[in-house]
Symmetry: C2
């Protein structure tokens, strides 16, 4: 049944499946020895080791990590992220990926901006692979998902808002409230008195919610007015930013500054200003969030909130690995700093 090409003899099937077993047979040692060469080379005598390694090389043998994982030696980290396009998430993924590979782990990726059901499904799928740890890009919404995560026993890092809801396990992030509060105050300090706020849809996104809250907290403290009419939600595209600018400036003739919750939006708005011949910040000041690569090069250079997304990704993985390494006093919450980068656009 297996292969009809050779005689029925039981010797030397040409297609014998490659495994530690087969390698062991070829070298004349026990499978366990091969396994040790792979994971604890020091426990094997140099000569044996050399012979085994050579056989492995020559056979093109790649150890089966599925089997290792089943025996409790998993090296996979599962992660679910929002859409990569325009969002700055790409840098986080890069950071996670770099850190993972440097430590010999692989990264399983699931994507989507989530309804509770979709989030739950993604998490369920990931958990099916029995990852040794999970990294999520926001607080988990669904109760079922939280239960699943907990009972999986895998450590979890949420990259999210630092304050607020009780984390499932560990959190890495910045206080979005603080950043937005700080930027709003910064704009006020520079003399702007009518400050608008533009973001992508906040529903179900605790980071954006906190930014909006921070903005409003600052306004309240300053005694500035906002009956909700200083805020707009748009899709995360340059066009969205341009449209928000139009909406807000036509709604409020005297608006003098707009704080965008994403550099992508801010860049779009600046282009719209050029198109209309409006001076930035003369006619209207523009501030962004994220400090993307383009921000410093933009004309005029963009005032923005700098958060080190790449580092956030790395940290998340590092915390996970520390916990896995048995480090019992890994911090539950890691708050990365941020910076208000004051350039010319505001």
């Amino acid at each position: 049944m297996t292969d009809g090409s050779e005689d029925g003899a039981d010797e030397k099937k040409p297609t014998a499946r490659l495994g530690v077993r087969e390698i062991a047979k070829r070298v004349g040692v026990a499978p366990m020895t091969v396994s040790r060469v792979l994971s604890n080379p020091d426990m094997v005598s140099p000569e044996t080791r050399a012979k085994v390694l050579q056989a492995i090389e020559q056979a093109g043998f790649v150890p089966n990590r599925l089997a290792s994982s089943m025996r409790g030696n998993g090296r996979m980290i599962g992660t679910v992220v929002p859409p990569l396009i325009n969002s700055g998430i790409a840098e986080q993924v890069q950071g996670m990926s770099d850190e993972c590979h440097e430590s010999g782990y692989s990264m399983l990726l699931a994507q989507g901006e989530f309804t509770q059901e979709a989030e739950e499904k993604a998490i369920r799928t990931l958990l099916g692979w029995r990852p040794v740890g999970m990294i999520l890009q926001s607080f988990v919404q669904s109760e079922t998902a939280r239960a699943l995560l907990t009972s999986s026993g895998a450590p979890v890092v949420e990259i999210s808002e630092i304050k607020g809801r009780k984390p499932l396990d560990m959190v890495v992030g910045v206080s979005n409230f603080e950043t937005a509060y700080a930027m709003t105050m910064h704009l006020a300090a520079k003399g702007y008195k009518r400050i608008g706020f533009v973001s992508t849809p906040v529903h179900g996104n605790d980071r954006l919610q906190q930014r909006r809250t921070g903005y409003n907290a600052a306004l309240a403290e300053l005694g500035f007015k906002n009956r909700g009419d200083m805020e707009v939600e748009v899709p995360i595209t340059a066009q969205g930013g341009a449209e928000a600018l139009v909406t807000l400036t036509s709604r409020h003739k005297d608006i003098d500054a707009i704080f965008f919750s994403s550099d992508t939006l801010a860049v779009g708005a600046v282009q719209e200003c050029h198109r209309r011949g409006w001076a930035v910040p003369g006619r209207i000041a523009i501030a962004g969030y994220g400090d993307i690569d383009l921000a410093a090069q933009l004309f005029p250079p963009l005032t923005t909130v700098k958060v080190n997304r790449y580092e956030m990704g790395r940290r998340a993985v590092r915390q996970l690995l520390a916990r896995l390494g048995g480090d019992t006093k890994v911090p539950t919450i890691t708050s990365l700093g941020f910076e208000i980068v004051d350039r010319d656009s505001a």
Copy 2:
């Protein structure tokens, strides 16, 4: 040894590991029945099925895909991609991811721009997970890696240059040669006579190599000169684009157009022009590649080459799945179209 908390009695360990076995026991059926409920529900009587599903739900059981994979029922696709930042690759990843999840597959991601050794290592790691298929973002360089891939038996899609080296298996992509040739001709047709070319480092990147070749082929056909001094390589950042603009314009006072191999670079160059008060395209024309979201919103709107990266990602996965589904006459090469988007910057 397993758990010291309960009495030594052999009944009802509270932490009995959850598997089909355990679910089966709770419902009072055989493990196989549970398995069938999961994969071939129709083979089980409705009442039994309902009971099983309920037990699964209530226990929070997530089937172990590692085990399924070991039995030849894998649902994982491995992929190695260049850095996500600024590169437009994010859209491809999004496309792959969407298509994967819609079809019930998971995506294992490895990253890096590659030396041969790094590429080989990444591929080896991925193959360790026994993916049912692999998607690579360029032609595989290393002979060893090619051998590994081949002997793994997994179908492979290279997202790459369409023409040139013989593909390992399947290819999805555009002809970068054609696109660059077309854009260069387009610029010439609009009257530009001194056309420069800027790209990120082409070494080891067949797509960029083909773009440069296409550009040069067009120049030659047009009778335009380029002794290599009309070309510059810079990092893939907005700043890189700005610097390339400066380099090229100071080297050639009469240069009248620059074709950037990436929109990111072109956007940076346009900002530099604003800074210098140069009219675009009056003083110098700028063309990009990729048609990123910002391109259409840029001031002035960017003339660029549009390739549907998201769709490329989806197609790659679809080809893989078609092959896996037993479709024997899956095309080996899929060439997606492209479009010269003529806007105002050139």
